[in-house]
Amino acid sequence: MSERQIQIEVLRYNPETDIEPTIQAYTVSCLNEWVVLDALNYIKDNLDATLSYRWSCHMAVCGSCGMMINGEPKLACKAFIHEYSDRIRVEPLVHFPIKRDLITDIEDFIAKFASVKPYLIPKEKRPISDGEYQQKPEDLLKFKQYTLCINCMLCYSACPKYGLVPEFIGPAAISIAHRYNQDSRDGGRHHRQEIIASSEGVWECSFVGACSEVCPKHVDPAGALQQVKLASTIDWYREHLMPWVKK
C-alpha cells in the first residue's frame, strides 16, 4: 500500500476565544486508499485532540461530514486522497456560521427543512385496520430519487442564491417537499405550497444548478426545483384565471 505525505490545512476557529479563523497545517502520512475523513481522524487521534468536526458513518449515508475541501463542498468520507495533490485545504461549509473548527451551526437549515412539512400528510385519515397504503412501482419512481437526500447541506453551500439571500428556503428543503408532493399517498401539497411557492421559496432559485453538481447522492435538487416552479406557475394561472376550478 503506497503512502504519501500530505499537508492538511484545516480552518480552526473557536468563536468564544478567537478573533478570527486561522489555518493550521498538519503533515500526515496518508495511505492512497484514504479519504480526507481518515486524515482528519488521524490528526484527531494522533496529532491534535482539540480538532472538532462532525462525522458518523464513514460511508456517505449519514450526511454529517460535509465540508469545503479545496474550496468545494464535499463529503469528507467520499473525497479520496488520491484525487488530490500533496496539499489539501479543509474548511467548514460556507454560508453557515461556524460553531467550532469544521462544525457549522445548522439551525437555519433544520428550521427550513421542518417548515416544508417533510412527512406524509394522508388525503384522509384511515384506521389501521384498513391495512397499508398501496403504491405501484411507477408511482414510487416519480419521487424515489428525491428520497435519497441525506441532508448533508452541500447544496446549501454550493448555492450562490442561498449565500446572497439567507431567507431562501433552499435546494434540499424544496426537493424534499417535492418528494412528498409527488407521493401518491400524500394529500398535503397545498399546505407545502404556502411555503415553497412564496418569494423566499422556489422563486429565489435562478437555476444555477450547482446544487445538483455537488449532490453526493445524485438527488438533482435543481431538477426538482424546476418542476416545482412549473407546477406553481400552473397553480398561479389556475387560481387567478380560473378561480372557479376546484383545487
Binding site: 446572497l164 405550497q193 411557492a197 412564496s198 418569494s199 422563486w203 444555477v208 406557475t233 397553480d235
Partner: protein, 114 residues
C-alpha cells in the same frame, strides 16, 4: 408566507427559454448563411414578407419575438441580482417595461404588414 406572483413572469421566461433554445440556433445559422451570400430561396425577403402578411405567419413571429423579449428581460433581472445589484424592483420595472414596449411595437409592426 403568501404565495409569490412571480409565476406571471416566470411562465413567459420559461416559454421564452424553450422558444429561444429551439429557434435561436436556427436563426443564427440562417443569418450566417445570409452573411455568406447563401440565402435559401425560402428565406428571401419576399418570402418572409409574404409569410408575415398572413395571420398565421404574424402569430408565429409574434409569439417567438415577444417570448424571447420576456425571456431576456427576466434573465437579465436574475443576472443583475447574481452580480449583487440589489435594487431588484427598479431593475424589474425597467426590464419588463422594455419587454412590454417591445411586445406592443412587434404587434403594431406586424399588423402594418399587408
Amino acid at each position: 408566507m403568501s404565495k409569490s406572483n412571480k409565476p406571471i413572469v416566470w411562465g413567459l421566461f420559461a416559454a421564452g427559454g424553450m422558444a429561444t433554445a429551439l429557434v435561436t440556433p436556427v436563426l443564427t445559422f440562417l443569418t450566417l448563411l445570409t452573411a455568406l451570400h447563401f440565402t435559401p430561396s425560402l428565406f428571401t425577403y419576399e418570402c418572409l414578407h409574404t409569410m408575415a402578411s398572413y395571420w398565421i405567419g404574424k402569430l408565429i413571429i409574434f409569439v417567438f419575438v415577444t417570448l424571447s423579449l420576456w425571456h431576456s428581460a427576466h434573465r437579465m433581472r436574475i443576472t443583475a441580482h447574481d452580480f449583487g445589484i440589489r435594487s431588484d424592483l427598479l431593475i424589474a420595472i425597467i426590464l419588463y417595461c422594455v419587454a412590454a414596449i417591445g411586445t406592443i411595437l412587434t404587434g403594431f409592426s406586424l399588423l402594418s404588414i399587408h
